[in-house]
Symmetry: C2
Protein backbone atom coordinates (compact mmCIF):
# COMPACT_ATOMS: atom_id res chain seq x y z
CA UNK A 1 0.00 0.00 0.00
CA UNK A 2 2.90 2.30 0.79
CA UNK A 3 4.43 1.45 -2.57
CA UNK A 4 1.16 2.31 -4.29
CA UNK A 5 1.09 5.77 -2.71
CA UNK A 6 4.70 6.30 -3.72
CA UNK A 7 3.83 5.26 -7.26
CA UNK A 8 0.96 7.71 -7.52
CA UNK A 9 3.08 10.58 -6.24
CA UNK A 10 5.91 9.69 -8.56
CA UNK A 11 3.54 9.41 -11.52
CA UNK A 12 2.05 12.83 -10.71
CA UNK A 13 5.52 14.32 -10.50
CA UNK A 14 6.35 12.98 -13.94
CA UNK A 15 3.11 14.38 -15.34
CA UNK A 16 3.89 17.80 -13.91
CA UNK A 17 7.35 17.82 -15.51
CA UNK A 18 5.84 16.79 -18.84
CA UNK A 19 3.15 19.47 -18.70
CA UNK A 20 5.61 22.20 -17.76
CA UNK A 21 8.00 21.21 -20.55
CA UNK A 22 5.22 20.97 -23.13
CA UNK A 23 4.07 24.49 -22.23
CA UNK A 24 7.57 25.77 -22.96
CA UNK A 25 7.43 24.34 -26.49
CA UNK A 26 4.27 26.24 -27.32
CA UNK A 27 5.40 29.83 -26.89
CA UNK A 28 4.29 31.90 -29.86
CA UNK A 29 3.83 35.43 -31.17
CA UNK A 30 0.39 36.80 -32.08
CA UNK A 31 1.19 37.55 -35.73
CA UNK A 32 -0.81 36.36 -38.75
CA UNK A 33 -1.64 32.66 -38.64
CA UNK A 34 -0.68 32.28 -34.97
CA UNK A 35 -4.09 30.74 -34.32
CA UNK A 36 -2.53 27.44 -35.44
CA UNK A 37 -0.73 27.46 -32.09
CA UNK A 38 -4.00 27.98 -30.22
CA UNK A 39 -5.41 24.90 -31.94
CA UNK A 40 -2.30 22.83 -31.20
CA UNK A 41 -2.24 24.01 -27.58
CA UNK A 42 -5.94 23.30 -27.06
CA UNK A 43 -5.56 19.57 -27.63
CA UNK A 44 -2.08 19.23 -26.19
CA UNK A 45 -3.15 20.72 -22.86
CA UNK A 46 -6.53 18.95 -22.69
CA UNK A 47 -5.35 16.49 -20.07
CA UNK A 48 -4.74 12.80 -20.53
CA UNK A 49 -2.58 10.31 -18.70
CA UNK A 50 0.70 11.34 -20.38
CA UNK A 51 1.52 7.62 -20.39
CA UNK A 52 3.97 7.79 -23.30
CA UNK A 53 6.19 10.59 -21.98
CA UNK A 54 6.06 9.12 -18.45
CA UNK A 55 7.30 5.82 -19.88
CA UNK A 56 10.18 7.46 -21.76
CA UNK A 57 11.33 9.52 -18.78
CA UNK A 58 10.98 6.78 -16.17
CA UNK A 59 12.89 4.25 -18.30
CA UNK A 60 15.67 6.78 -18.85
CA UNK A 61 15.66 7.60 -15.09
CA UNK A 62 15.96 3.93 -14.20
CA UNK A 63 19.03 3.64 -16.42
CA UNK A 64 20.61 6.74 -14.92
CA UNK A 65 20.21 8.73 -18.15
CA UNK A 66 19.93 12.48 -18.48
CA UNK A 67 16.57 14.07 -17.69
CA UNK A 68 17.44 17.08 -19.84
CA UNK A 69 18.08 14.83 -22.82
CA UNK A 70 15.00 12.65 -22.54
CA UNK A 71 12.46 15.46 -22.07
CA UNK A 72 12.31 16.66 -25.70
CA UNK A 73 11.74 13.08 -26.84
CA UNK A 74 9.09 12.52 -24.17
CA UNK A 75 7.25 15.67 -25.27
CA UNK A 76 7.58 14.70 -28.94
CA UNK A 77 5.87 11.39 -28.14
CA UNK A 78 2.96 13.19 -26.51
CA UNK A 79 2.67 15.51 -29.53
CA UNK A 80 2.53 12.53 -31.87
CA UNK A 81 -0.11 10.87 -29.68
CA UNK A 82 -2.16 14.08 -29.60
CA UNK A 83 -1.99 14.68 -33.37
CA UNK A 84 -3.28 11.14 -33.92
CA UNK A 85 -6.24 11.81 -31.62
CA UNK A 86 -7.11 15.09 -33.40
CA UNK A 87 -7.12 13.41 -36.81
CA UNK A 88 -8.92 10.33 -35.45
CA UNK A 89 -11.75 12.50 -34.15
CA UNK A 90 -12.37 14.23 -37.51
CA UNK A 91 -15.78 13.78 -39.19
CA UNK A 92 -14.19 11.72 -41.98
CA UNK A 93 -12.66 9.39 -39.39
CA UNK A 94 -14.44 8.59 -36.08
CA UNK A 95 -16.53 11.79 -36.12
CA UNK A 96 -16.28 12.36 -32.37
CA UNK A 97 -17.65 15.52 -30.76
CA UNK A 98 -15.99 15.06 -27.39
CA UNK A 99 -12.60 13.92 -26.16
CA UNK A 100 -11.73 13.77 -22.47
CA UNK A 101 -14.99 15.60 -21.72
CA UNK A 102 -14.13 18.57 -23.92
CA UNK A 103 -15.29 19.41 -27.46
CA UNK A 104 -12.91 17.91 -30.02
CA UNK A 105 -10.47 20.13 -31.88
CA UNK A 106 -12.55 20.45 -35.05
CA UNK A 107 -15.63 21.33 -33.00
CA UNK A 108 -13.78 24.35 -31.62
CA UNK A 109 -11.47 25.40 -34.47
CA UNK A 110 -13.20 23.91 -37.52
CA UNK A 111 -12.15 20.94 -39.63
CA UNK A 112 -9.52 22.68 -41.74
CA UNK A 113 -7.71 24.04 -38.71
CA UNK A 114 -7.93 20.68 -36.94
CA UNK A 115 -6.26 18.98 -39.90
CA UNK A 116 -3.50 21.61 -39.88
CA UNK A 117 -3.11 21.48 -36.08
CA UNK A 118 -2.59 17.72 -36.27
CA UNK A 119 -0.04 18.14 -39.07
CA UNK A 120 1.71 20.87 -37.11
CA UNK A 121 1.94 18.76 -33.92
CA UNK A 122 3.41 15.84 -35.83
CA UNK A 123 5.94 18.13 -37.47
CA UNK A 124 6.68 19.92 -34.17
CA UNK A 125 7.54 16.57 -32.59
CA UNK A 126 10.37 16.18 -35.09
CA UNK A 127 11.34 19.84 -34.82
CA UNK A 128 12.01 19.59 -31.10
CA UNK A 129 13.88 16.27 -31.29
CA UNK A 130 16.09 17.42 -34.17
CA UNK A 131 16.71 20.81 -32.63
CA UNK A 132 17.74 19.20 -29.34
CA UNK A 133 20.13 16.86 -31.13
CA UNK A 134 21.70 19.75 -33.00
CA UNK A 135 22.01 21.86 -29.84
CA UNK A 136 23.63 19.13 -27.78
CA UNK A 137 26.06 18.04 -30.48
CA UNK A 138 27.12 14.95 -28.48
CA UNK A 139 25.51 11.56 -27.75
CA UNK A 140 24.26 11.93 -31.30
CA UNK A 141 23.98 8.20 -31.87
CA UNK A 142 21.62 7.81 -28.89
CA UNK A 143 19.45 10.67 -30.13
CA UNK A 144 19.40 9.28 -33.65
CA UNK A 145 18.41 5.83 -32.34
CA UNK A 146 15.62 7.34 -30.24
CA UNK A 147 14.29 9.33 -33.19
CA UNK A 148 14.52 6.29 -35.42
CA UNK A 149 12.47 4.09 -33.11
CA UNK A 150 9.87 6.85 -32.72
CA UNK A 151 9.63 7.63 -36.45
CA UNK A 152 9.43 4.02 -37.57
CA UNK A 153 6.74 3.18 -35.01
CA UNK A 154 4.62 6.27 -35.72
CA UNK A 155 4.26 5.83 -39.48
CA UNK A 156 2.85 3.62 -42.20
CA UNK A 157 4.50 0.53 -40.67
CA UNK A 158 3.36 1.39 -37.14
CA UNK A 159 0.62 3.57 -35.69
CA UNK A 160 -0.79 4.76 -39.04
CA UNK A 161 -0.89 1.18 -40.30
CA UNK A 162 -2.96 0.32 -37.23
CA UNK A 163 -5.36 3.19 -37.90
CA UNK A 164 -5.73 2.00 -41.48
CA UNK A 165 -6.58 -1.56 -40.45
CA UNK A 166 -9.00 -0.28 -37.81
CA UNK A 167 -10.78 1.85 -40.41
CA UNK A 168 -10.88 -0.93 -42.98
CA UNK A 169 -12.19 -3.50 -40.47
CA UNK A 170 -15.18 -1.37 -39.41
CA UNK A 171 -18.28 -3.59 -39.55
CA UNK A 172 -16.27 -6.63 -40.66
CA UNK A 173 -15.08 -9.66 -38.73
CA UNK A 174 -11.31 -9.93 -38.57
CA UNK A 175 -9.10 -12.82 -37.50
CA UNK A 176 -7.42 -13.00 -34.10
CA UNK A 177 -4.09 -12.58 -35.87
CA UNK A 178 -5.21 -9.39 -37.63
CA UNK A 179 -6.73 -8.08 -34.39
CA UNK A 180 -3.43 -8.55 -32.59
CA UNK A 181 -1.45 -7.00 -35.47
CA UNK A 182 -3.84 -4.03 -35.59
CA UNK A 183 -3.41 -3.30 -31.89
CA UNK A 184 0.31 -3.89 -31.94
CA UNK A 185 0.43 -1.15 -34.59
CA UNK A 186 -2.31 1.20 -33.44
CA UNK A 187 -1.57 1.41 -29.71
CA UNK A 188 1.40 -0.84 -29.06
CA UNK A 189 3.83 0.76 -31.51
CA UNK A 190 3.93 4.21 -29.89
CA UNK A 191 4.04 2.71 -26.38
CA UNK A 192 6.98 0.57 -27.46
CA UNK A 193 8.65 3.60 -29.07
CA UNK A 194 8.27 5.48 -25.78
CA UNK A 195 9.98 2.77 -23.75
CA UNK A 196 12.74 2.26 -26.32
CA UNK A 197 13.41 5.97 -26.85
CA UNK A 198 13.95 6.21 -23.08
CA UNK A 199 16.19 3.15 -23.30
CA UNK A 200 18.30 4.66 -26.09
CA UNK A 201 18.77 7.97 -24.34
CA UNK A 202 19.53 6.16 -21.09
CA UNK A 203 22.21 4.20 -23.01
CA UNK A 204 20.70 0.78 -22.29
CA UNK A 205 22.92 -2.21 -23.00
CA UNK A 206 21.76 -4.52 -25.73
CA UNK A 207 20.31 -6.99 -23.22
CA UNK A 208 18.61 -4.23 -21.21
CA UNK A 209 17.15 -2.93 -24.47
CA UNK A 210 15.72 -6.36 -25.31
CA UNK A 211 14.19 -6.75 -21.84
CA UNK A 212 12.58 -3.33 -22.14
CA UNK A 213 11.24 -4.20 -25.60
CA UNK A 214 9.57 -7.27 -24.10
CA UNK A 215 8.16 -5.16 -21.24
CA UNK A 216 6.82 -2.64 -23.78
CA UNK A 217 5.13 -5.34 -25.87
CA UNK A 218 3.39 -6.71 -22.78
CA UNK A 219 2.12 -3.39 -21.44
CA UNK A 220 1.01 -2.37 -24.94
CA UNK A 221 -1.09 -5.53 -25.17
CA UNK A 222 -2.38 -5.06 -21.60
CA UNK A 223 -3.33 -1.47 -22.40
CA UNK A 224 -5.48 -2.55 -25.33
CA UNK A 225 -7.16 -5.50 -23.60
CA UNK A 226 -8.01 -3.22 -20.67
CA UNK A 227 -9.50 -0.66 -23.09
CA UNK A 228 -11.68 -3.37 -24.64
CA UNK A 229 -12.81 -4.61 -21.22
CA UNK A 230 -13.66 -1.09 -20.06
CA UNK A 231 -15.65 -0.47 -23.27
CA UNK A 232 -17.75 -3.58 -22.75
CA UNK A 233 -18.28 -2.97 -19.05
CA UNK A 234 -19.41 0.60 -19.61
CA UNK A 235 -21.77 -0.55 -22.40
CA UNK A 236 -23.15 -3.27 -20.12
CA UNK A 237 -23.74 -0.75 -17.34
CA UNK A 238 -25.50 1.62 -19.72
CA UNK A 239 -27.72 -1.16 -21.03
CA UNK A 240 -28.70 -2.51 -17.61
CA UNK A 241 -26.71 -5.67 -18.25
CA UNK A 242 -29.36 -6.96 -20.64
CA UNK A 243 -27.41 -7.12 -23.81
CA UNK A 244 -24.80 -9.77 -23.14
CA UNK A 245 -21.24 -9.75 -24.31
CA UNK A 246 -21.85 -8.14 -27.71
CA UNK A 247 -23.00 -4.95 -26.04
CA UNK A 248 -20.05 -3.09 -27.48
CA UNK A 249 -19.90 -1.74 -31.03
CA UNK A 250 -19.68 -3.95 -34.08
CA UNK A 251 -15.90 -3.97 -33.91
CA UNK A 252 -13.87 -7.08 -33.20
CA UNK A 253 -12.21 -6.70 -29.78
CA UNK A 254 -10.41 -8.97 -27.33
CA UNK A 255 -13.73 -9.35 -25.54
CA UNK A 256 -15.81 -10.24 -28.61
CA UNK A 257 -13.02 -12.60 -29.65
CA UNK A 258 -12.38 -14.40 -26.35
CA UNK A 259 -15.21 -13.44 -23.98
CA UNK A 260 -14.85 -11.29 -20.86
CA UNK A 261 -13.37 -13.90 -18.50
CA UNK A 262 -10.68 -15.02 -20.89
CA UNK A 263 -9.87 -11.39 -21.77
CA UNK A 264 -9.36 -10.61 -18.08
CA UNK A 265 -7.12 -13.65 -17.77
CA UNK A 266 -5.08 -12.48 -20.80
CA UNK A 267 -4.79 -9.05 -19.19
CA UNK A 268 -3.42 -10.58 -15.97
CA UNK A 269 -0.96 -12.70 -17.91
CA UNK A 270 0.31 -9.71 -19.92
CA UNK A 271 0.90 -7.66 -16.79
CA UNK A 272 2.70 -10.56 -15.09
CA UNK A 273 4.89 -11.02 -18.17
CA UNK A 274 5.65 -7.30 -18.20
CA UNK A 275 6.79 -7.47 -14.58
CA UNK A 276 8.85 -10.59 -15.29
CA UNK A 277 10.66 -8.84 -18.15
CA UNK A 278 11.96 -6.29 -15.64
CA UNK A 279 13.65 -8.82 -13.37
CA UNK A 280 17.17 -7.99 -14.56
CA UNK A 281 16.75 -4.45 -13.24
CA UNK A 282 15.87 -5.50 -9.68
CA UNK A 283 14.55 -2.78 -7.40
CA UNK A 284 15.42 -0.04 -9.84
CA UNK A 285 12.37 -1.14 -11.86
CA UNK A 286 9.87 -0.65 -9.02
CA UNK A 287 8.13 2.24 -10.77
CA UNK A 288 7.87 0.50 -14.14
CA UNK A 289 6.55 -2.66 -12.43
CA UNK A 290 3.86 -0.65 -10.66
CA UNK A 291 3.08 1.06 -13.94
CA UNK A 292 2.13 -2.30 -15.48
CA UNK A 293 -0.35 -2.92 -12.66
CA UNK A 294 -1.61 0.65 -12.98
CA UNK A 295 -2.42 -0.06 -16.65
CA UNK A 296 -4.42 -3.11 -15.55
CA UNK A 297 -6.25 -1.41 -12.68
CA UNK A 298 -6.97 2.03 -14.21
CA UNK A 299 -10.54 3.27 -14.39
CA UNK A 300 -10.16 5.28 -17.64
CA UNK B 1 20.13 28.29 -76.70
CA UNK B 2 22.62 25.49 -76.28
CA UNK B 3 22.71 26.19 -72.57
CA UNK B 4 18.92 26.00 -72.45
CA UNK B 5 18.92 22.54 -74.04
CA UNK B 6 21.59 21.43 -71.59
CA UNK B 7 19.48 22.75 -68.76
CA UNK B 8 16.40 20.83 -69.86
CA UNK B 9 18.35 17.60 -70.20
CA UNK B 10 20.01 18.08 -66.86
CA UNK B 11 16.67 18.87 -65.20
CA UNK B 12 15.11 15.72 -66.69
CA UNK B 13 18.03 13.66 -65.44
CA UNK B 14 17.51 14.98 -61.95
CA UNK B 15 13.79 14.21 -62.13
CA UNK B 16 14.54 10.65 -63.21
CA UNK B 17 16.90 10.11 -60.29
CA UNK B 18 14.29 11.50 -57.90
CA UNK B 19 11.52 9.32 -59.28
CA UNK B 20 13.65 6.18 -59.17
CA UNK B 21 14.72 6.86 -55.59
CA UNK B 22 11.18 7.68 -54.45
CA UNK B 23 9.96 4.36 -55.89
CA UNK B 24 12.53 2.53 -53.77
CA UNK B 25 11.12 4.10 -50.61
CA UNK B 26 7.64 2.80 -51.29
CA UNK B 27 8.22 -0.94 -51.34
CA UNK B 28 5.61 -2.68 -49.22
CA UNK B 29 4.03 -6.02 -48.37
CA UNK B 30 0.37 -6.75 -49.09
CA UNK B 31 -0.64 -7.48 -45.49
CA UNK B 32 -3.53 -5.86 -43.60
CA UNK B 33 -3.57 -2.09 -43.91
CA UNK B 34 -1.08 -2.02 -46.78
CA UNK B 35 -3.55 0.06 -48.78
CA UNK B 36 -2.08 3.08 -46.96
CA UNK B 37 0.95 2.63 -49.21
CA UNK B 38 -1.22 2.60 -52.33
CA UNK B 39 -2.70 5.93 -51.27
CA UNK B 40 0.75 7.41 -50.51
CA UNK B 41 2.15 6.12 -53.79
CA UNK B 42 -0.78 7.42 -55.83
CA UNK B 43 -0.07 11.05 -55.00
CA UNK B 44 3.71 10.74 -54.79
CA UNK B 45 3.93 9.33 -58.31
CA UNK B 46 1.31 11.62 -59.85
CA UNK B 47 3.92 13.74 -61.61
CA UNK B 48 4.87 17.29 -60.78
CA UNK B 49 8.00 19.32 -61.38
CA UNK B 50 10.02 17.79 -58.51
CA UNK B 51 11.37 21.32 -58.00
CA UNK B 52 12.26 20.85 -54.33
CA UNK B 53 14.32 17.66 -54.67
CA UNK B 54 15.96 19.00 -57.84
CA UNK B 55 17.02 22.09 -55.90
CA UNK B 56 18.46 20.06 -53.02
CA UNK B 57 20.42 17.72 -55.29
CA UNK B 58 21.71 20.38 -57.69
CA UNK B 59 22.90 22.63 -54.85
CA UNK B 60 24.71 19.68 -53.26
CA UNK B 61 26.18 18.73 -56.67
CA UNK B 62 27.45 22.25 -57.21
CA UNK B 63 29.27 22.12 -53.86
CA UNK B 64 30.79 18.72 -54.66
CA UNK B 65 28.69 16.96 -52.00
CA UNK B 66 27.67 13.31 -51.97
CA UNK B 67 24.78 12.32 -54.19
CA UNK B 68 24.10 9.28 -51.99
CA UNK B 69 23.76 11.51 -48.94
CA UNK B 70 21.52 14.17 -50.43
CA UNK B 71 19.00 11.83 -52.07
CA UNK B 72 17.10 10.80 -48.90
CA UNK B 73 16.70 14.47 -47.99
CA UNK B 74 15.60 15.37 -51.52
CA UNK B 75 12.96 12.62 -51.45
CA UNK B 76 11.84 13.67 -47.97
CA UNK B 77 11.23 17.19 -49.29
CA UNK B 78 9.05 15.83 -52.09
CA UNK B 79 7.11 13.72 -49.59
CA UNK B 80 6.47 16.78 -47.41
CA UNK B 81 5.36 18.77 -50.45
CA UNK B 82 3.04 15.95 -51.55
CA UNK B 83 1.46 15.48 -48.11
CA UNK B 84 0.68 19.21 -48.01
CA UNK B 85 -1.07 18.96 -51.39
CA UNK B 86 -3.16 15.94 -50.30
CA UNK B 87 -4.35 17.73 -47.16
CA UNK B 88 -4.83 21.02 -49.05
CA UNK B 89 -7.14 19.32 -51.53
CA UNK B 90 -9.45 17.84 -48.84
CA UNK B 91 -13.11 18.93 -48.79
CA UNK B 92 -12.55 20.79 -45.51
CA UNK B 93 -9.68 22.73 -47.09
CA UNK B 94 -9.70 23.71 -50.81
CA UNK B 95 -12.11 20.91 -51.80
CA UNK B 96 -10.36 20.16 -55.10
CA UNK B 97 -11.45 17.21 -57.25
CA UNK B 98 -8.43 17.27 -59.57
CA UNK B 99 -4.71 17.76 -59.15
CA UNK B 100 -2.31 17.61 -62.10
CA UNK B 101 -5.18 16.35 -64.25
CA UNK B 102 -5.89 13.35 -62.01
CA UNK B 103 -8.58 12.86 -59.36
CA UNK B 104 -7.31 14.03 -55.96
CA UNK B 105 -6.32 11.50 -53.31
CA UNK B 106 -9.59 11.67 -51.36
CA UNK B 107 -11.59 11.24 -54.59
CA UNK B 108 -9.86 7.89 -55.15
CA UNK B 109 -9.24 6.58 -51.63
CA UNK B 110 -11.84 8.46 -49.56
CA UNK B 111 -11.31 11.29 -47.10
CA UNK B 112 -10.19 9.20 -44.14
CA UNK B 113 -7.51 7.43 -46.13
CA UNK B 114 -6.36 10.73 -47.70
CA UNK B 115 -5.87 12.21 -44.23
CA UNK B 116 -3.87 9.16 -43.17
CA UNK B 117 -1.87 9.08 -46.42
CA UNK B 118 -0.84 12.71 -45.87
CA UNK B 119 0.13 11.96 -42.27
CA UNK B 120 2.07 8.90 -43.39
CA UNK B 121 4.00 10.81 -46.07
CA UNK B 122 4.98 13.51 -43.60
CA UNK B 123 6.12 10.88 -41.13
CA UNK B 124 7.90 8.88 -43.85
CA UNK B 125 9.91 11.97 -44.76
CA UNK B 126 11.41 11.97 -41.28
CA UNK B 127 11.75 8.18 -41.24
CA UNK B 128 14.01 8.19 -44.28
CA UNK B 129 16.14 11.14 -43.18
CA UNK B 130 16.65 9.74 -39.68
CA UNK B 131 17.30 6.24 -40.93
CA UNK B 132 19.92 7.52 -43.39
CA UNK B 133 21.65 9.50 -40.63
CA UNK B 134 21.74 6.46 -38.40
CA UNK B 135 23.01 4.20 -41.18
CA UNK B 136 25.81 6.53 -42.24
CA UNK B 137 26.97 7.31 -38.70
CA UNK B 138 29.30 10.08 -39.93
CA UNK B 139 28.78 13.66 -41.16
CA UNK B 140 26.06 13.65 -38.52
CA UNK B 141 26.20 17.39 -37.99
CA UNK B 142 25.49 18.07 -41.68
CA UNK B 143 22.53 15.66 -41.61
CA UNK B 144 21.19 17.19 -38.40
CA UNK B 145 21.48 20.70 -39.87
CA UNK B 146 19.65 19.60 -43.03
CA UNK B 147 16.87 17.97 -41.03
CA UNK B 148 16.63 21.02 -38.79
CA UNK B 149 16.17 23.45 -41.67
CA UNK B 150 13.57 21.15 -43.25
CA UNK B 151 11.62 20.58 -40.02
CA UNK B 152 11.57 24.21 -38.96
CA UNK B 153 10.45 25.39 -42.40
CA UNK B 154 7.74 22.73 -42.80
CA UNK B 155 5.86 23.38 -39.55
CA UNK B 156 3.82 25.91 -37.61
CA UNK B 157 6.45 28.61 -38.16
CA UNK B 158 6.84 27.80 -41.86
CA UNK B 159 4.66 26.07 -44.44
CA UNK B 160 1.77 25.26 -42.09
CA UNK B 161 1.75 28.85 -40.85
CA UNK B 162 1.38 29.95 -44.47
CA UNK B 163 -1.52 27.56 -45.03
CA UNK B 164 -3.20 28.92 -41.91
CA UNK B 165 -2.90 32.53 -43.07
CA UNK B 166 -4.12 31.58 -46.54
CA UNK B 167 -7.18 29.90 -45.06
CA UNK B 168 -7.90 32.76 -42.69
CA UNK B 169 -7.54 35.40 -45.40
CA UNK B 170 -10.08 33.79 -47.72
CA UNK B 171 -12.52 36.50 -48.85
CA UNK B 172 -10.70 39.20 -46.86
CA UNK B 173 -8.28 41.90 -47.97
CA UNK B 174 -4.84 41.49 -46.47
CA UNK B 175 -1.93 43.93 -46.36
CA UNK B 176 1.07 43.69 -48.68
CA UNK B 177 3.17 42.77 -45.68
CA UNK B 178 0.88 39.89 -44.70
CA UNK B 179 0.70 38.73 -48.33
CA UNK B 180 4.48 38.57 -48.49
CA UNK B 181 4.72 36.82 -45.12
CA UNK B 182 2.05 34.31 -46.15
CA UNK B 183 3.90 33.36 -49.34
CA UNK B 184 7.29 33.33 -47.65
CA UNK B 185 5.77 30.70 -45.33
CA UNK B 186 3.45 28.80 -47.65
CA UNK B 187 5.68 28.34 -50.70
CA UNK B 188 8.97 30.02 -49.91
CA UNK B 189 9.79 28.12 -46.72
CA UNK B 190 9.99 24.64 -48.27
CA UNK B 191 11.86 25.96 -51.34
CA UNK B 192 14.36 27.60 -49.00
CA UNK B 193 14.63 24.41 -46.95
CA UNK B 194 15.39 22.49 -50.15
CA UNK B 195 18.24 24.79 -51.14
CA UNK B 196 19.68 24.93 -47.62
CA UNK B 197 19.39 21.18 -46.99
CA UNK B 198 21.46 20.71 -50.17
CA UNK B 199 23.88 23.35 -48.88
CA UNK B 200 24.29 21.61 -45.51
CA UNK B 201 24.88 18.20 -47.01
CA UNK B 202 27.28 19.74 -49.54
CA UNK B 203 29.16 21.28 -46.59
CA UNK B 204 28.70 24.87 -47.74
CA UNK B 205 30.89 27.46 -46.02
CA UNK B 206 29.07 30.06 -43.98
CA UNK B 207 29.29 32.62 -46.77
CA UNK B 208 28.17 30.12 -49.43
CA UNK B 209 25.24 29.22 -47.18
CA UNK B 210 24.22 32.88 -46.91
CA UNK B 211 24.41 33.38 -50.67
CA UNK B 212 22.28 30.30 -51.24
CA UNK B 213 19.75 31.52 -48.65
CA UNK B 214 19.45 34.76 -50.61
CA UNK B 215 19.05 32.82 -53.87
CA UNK B 216 16.36 30.67 -52.27
CA UNK B 217 14.41 33.69 -51.01
CA UNK B 218 14.44 35.22 -54.49
CA UNK B 219 13.32 32.11 -56.37
CA UNK B 220 10.66 31.44 -53.72
CA UNK B 221 9.24 34.91 -54.31
CA UNK B 222 9.56 34.53 -58.10
CA UNK B 223 7.76 31.18 -57.94
CA UNK B 224 4.77 32.72 -56.17
CA UNK B 225 4.54 35.85 -58.33
CA UNK B 226 4.66 33.64 -61.43
CA UNK B 227 1.86 31.47 -59.99
CA UNK B 228 -0.28 34.56 -59.42
CA UNK B 229 0.41 35.85 -62.94
CA UNK B 230 -0.46 32.48 -64.50
CA UNK B 231 -3.70 32.33 -62.48
CA UNK B 232 -4.82 35.73 -63.73
CA UNK B 233 -3.81 35.07 -67.31
CA UNK B 234 -5.67 31.77 -67.42
CA UNK B 235 -8.76 33.41 -65.88
CA UNK B 236 -8.54 36.24 -68.42
CA UNK B 237 -8.30 33.76 -71.27
CA UNK B 238 -11.28 31.80 -69.99
CA UNK B 239 -13.34 34.97 -69.65
CA UNK B 240 -12.51 36.31 -73.10
CA UNK B 241 -10.46 39.12 -71.55
CA UNK B 242 -13.63 40.90 -70.47
CA UNK B 243 -13.26 40.82 -66.76
CA UNK B 244 -10.22 43.00 -66.16
CA UNK B 245 -7.55 42.42 -63.58
CA UNK B 246 -9.79 41.10 -60.83
CA UNK B 247 -10.67 38.10 -62.94
CA UNK B 248 -9.00 35.79 -60.46
CA UNK B 249 -10.60 34.58 -57.24
CA UNK B 250 -11.35 36.87 -54.34
CA UNK B 251 -7.91 36.23 -52.86
CA UNK B 252 -5.29 38.91 -52.51
CA UNK B 253 -2.39 38.14 -54.90
CA UNK B 254 0.63 39.96 -56.25
CA UNK B 255 -1.47 40.83 -59.28
CA UNK B 256 -4.49 42.18 -57.37
CA UNK B 257 -2.06 44.07 -55.13
CA UNK B 258 0.24 45.59 -57.76
CA UNK B 259 -1.41 45.04 -61.16
CA UNK B 260 -0.11 42.75 -63.90
CA UNK B 261 2.66 44.99 -65.27
CA UNK B 262 4.20 45.72 -61.91
CA UNK B 263 3.92 42.03 -60.92
CA UNK B 264 5.85 41.04 -64.05
CA UNK B 265 8.47 43.64 -63.23
CA UNK B 266 8.78 42.25 -59.68
CA UNK B 267 9.14 38.77 -61.15
CA UNK B 268 12.00 39.91 -63.39
CA UNK B 269 13.70 41.64 -60.50
CA UNK B 270 13.45 38.57 -58.26
CA UNK B 271 14.97 36.35 -60.92
CA UNK B 272 17.80 38.82 -61.56
CA UNK B 273 18.49 39.02 -57.81
CA UNK B 274 18.52 35.22 -57.61
CA UNK B 275 21.11 35.06 -60.37
CA UNK B 276 23.16 37.81 -58.73
CA UNK B 277 23.23 35.89 -55.43
CA UNK B 278 25.04 33.05 -57.24
CA UNK B 279 27.96 35.18 -58.44
CA UNK B 280 30.39 33.80 -55.87
CA UNK B 281 30.00 30.33 -57.41
CA UNK B 282 30.95 31.41 -60.97
CA UNK B 283 30.29 28.86 -63.68
CA UNK B 284 29.54 26.10 -61.21
CA UNK B 285 26.16 27.77 -60.66
CA UNK B 286 25.07 27.60 -64.32
CA UNK B 287 22.27 25.11 -63.62
CA UNK B 288 20.89 27.02 -60.63
CA UNK B 289 21.01 30.26 -62.61
CA UNK B 290 19.02 28.69 -65.44
CA UNK B 291 16.64 27.28 -62.88
CA UNK B 292 15.71 30.79 -61.77
CA UNK B 293 14.84 31.72 -65.36
CA UNK B 294 12.97 28.44 -65.75
CA UNK B 295 10.80 29.41 -62.77
CA UNK B 296 10.02 32.71 -64.50
CA UNK B 297 9.34 31.23 -67.94
CA UNK B 298 7.46 28.04 -67.01
CA UNK B 299 4.00 27.43 -68.41
CA UNK B 300 2.60 25.51 -65.42
Amino acid sequence: MALMTDFKTEYSNYVKIVNDTLAGYLQFDDGPGSNIYNAMKYSLTAGGKRLRPVLAISVCDMLGGSRQDVLPFACALEMIHTYSLIHDDLPAMDNDDYRRGMPTNHKVFGEAMAILAGDALLNKAYEIMISHMLKRGEHTKAFAKAMDVIASNAGADGMIRGQTIDMESEGRTISGQTLEYMHRCKTGALIKASVLAGASIGNATSSEYDSLAKYADCIGLAFQIKDDIMDVKSSLEQMGKQAGSDAASNKTTYVTMFGLDKAEQLLDESVESAAAALECFGNRAAFLRELAFYIRDRKN
